[in-house]
Amino acid sequence: MLLLKRRIKRLILSMSVSPLLYLIAFGYAMGKSVRFGGHTYLEFLIPGLVAMSSMTQSFAIATDINVARFYWHIFEEFQAAPIGNVAYVAGEVLAGMSRALISVTVILTLGMLFGVRLHCLNPLFWLAVALNSFVFASLAVALAMLVKSHADQSLLTSFVITPMAFLGGTFFPVDRLPHWAGQIIWILPLTHASKAIRQAAFGNLPGLSPYLFVGLTGIIFFTMALKCVDQARD
């Protein structure tokens, strides 16, 4: 739950490493020559990294939950305590979301150091970030309850999260992909979230539909997570 506090310093450090690498590698390699719709590649990349990072960081609570469950057996403490499933899931999801928000702040700060200016005070931007992390934190709790061991967990991450990170409109615009791929990508919640995040960051109005899509997916995953917590009682 909110036991995150003492680990935050280490977290921020580890959170900045991979976006920093992406920024340097892609930002400098592609340089100013590549432009998408009137924006430099860095301006395009940073909102994508925001979307990706809010996903991976909120999903990372699955690992925490599983360490607590299979290694320390702390999960039993929560199960035996007089707290409802909703309170438990909400607590974990909030922890995941705060983690995501911290990582987004880190990326925006890095972006500023690289001289990229975005509309990052736009409430619609933060709403999209929050919804996106809500989706993946809920998914994380649900899957964490279903897996039977810690090894299964990393398998899930590499099958669910990693492909999504690369396809969900992070590194390149999805409309450049072939038609069939576009269809698959369209059902990924990250695609919609990154679209909304990017539009909001550019100061445009993203429209209602991505918010609805991502929000609904989040509610579905949250409900699933509630069911799965009950399933975790063997």
């Binding site: 036991l3 320390w72 057996h73 702390i74 039993e76 199960q79 035996a80 707290i83 009682r233 063997d234």
Partner: protein
């Protein structure tokens, strides 16, 4: 008070519990004694809501464990068989988080932590990271944590397993003290002397069934008062007698070495399961 009726648990094809029924009175110390795999932990896991039951009913202080689970969960404290402390936090933090899970106010939490850490003699270590404690200290901390919210029932799953005799006696003393403060205690163990020393009543459980249930005194009285251990045909045997006179008569006619002693719960257990010859 714990009331259990026809409790059943099946894991695929394993019948971990088969129609278990018993009742633990308020303030009683009830021991659940059985070999490995008998179903002791399974019983505790079901009563504390960690495992779903396959059949039967159970109430904790009148609250049904499934239908009224949140209120049932307020009734007990739980000390599991395996250490389940947050090893990266301090003793104080572990206790505090537990209090928060039970919705305790900050001021009350502070008072309770001080009281309980003193009680289990760990106050001087309150800011130590749990990882650095010895096994016996971790056990004591788990007991203190389970008492944090002043539960009326305490579940202890093999609280002294893997501890040296000195620490074990200390934990026994602690358990007795907790009982004297009015707490109902359900304790599992596979140490017979632990049940004999602590329990008001003992249930023998084997292969998911309760084989016998009574007070230690009644079990022993049924077996006899005195026991003589002797070697017969190269095997250790125990013979039991109703009184000292009977035993003396036996000794008078016996050649070879022997030991005369009082009957203990182990004798009762052995004669009950028929693993040794009975007089």
């Amino acid at each position: 008070m714990i009331r259990v009726e026809g409790l059943k648990k099946t894991y695929r094809h394993v019948h971990a519990l088969d129609e278990v029924s018993f009742c633990v009175k308020p303030g009683e110390l009830f021991a659940y004694l059985g070999p490995n795999g008998a179903g002791k932990t399974t019983t505790i896991r079901i009563l504390t809501g960690l495992t779903r039951l396959s059949g039967g009913n159970a109430w904790l202080n009148g609250f049904h464990i499934e239908r009224d689970s949140l209120r049932a969960k307020r009734q007990f404290g739980l000390v599991m068989q395996s250490i389940n402390l947050d090893q990266e936090l301090t003793l104080l933090e572990n206790m505090d988080i537990h209090g928060r899970l039970y919705g305790m106010k900050k001021a009350l939490r502070r008072i309770r932590i001080r009281e309980l850490l003193g009680y289990v003699d760990l106050m001087s270590r309150k800011d130590t990271i749990v990882k650095r404690l010895s096994g016996g200290m971790k056990r004591r901390l788990m007991v203190a944590r389970a008492l944090m919210h002043s539960p009326k029932i305490l579940f202890l799953d093999e609280p002294t397993v893997g501890l040296d005799p000195g620490i074990r006696r200390r934990i026994w003393g602690l358990i007795k003290q907790i009982q004297h403060s009015g707490t109902t205690i359900f304790l599992t163990t596979h140490y017979i002397e632990e049940a004999e020393f602590l329990a008001d009543r003992v249930a023998f459980i084997d292969k998911g069934k309760i084989a016998a249930l009574d007070t230690p005194a009644a079990f022993m009285a049924r077996t006899g008062k005195w026991a003589i251990d002797l070697m017969q045909d190269g095997q250790m045997k125990s013979v039991y007698f109703k009184d000292r006179k009977e035993a003396d008569t036996f000794v008078a006619n016996h050649r070879g070495s022997y030991t005369l002693r009082r009957v203990n719960l182990e004798d009762a257990f052995l004669s009950l399961t028929g693993k040794k010859v009975k007089n």
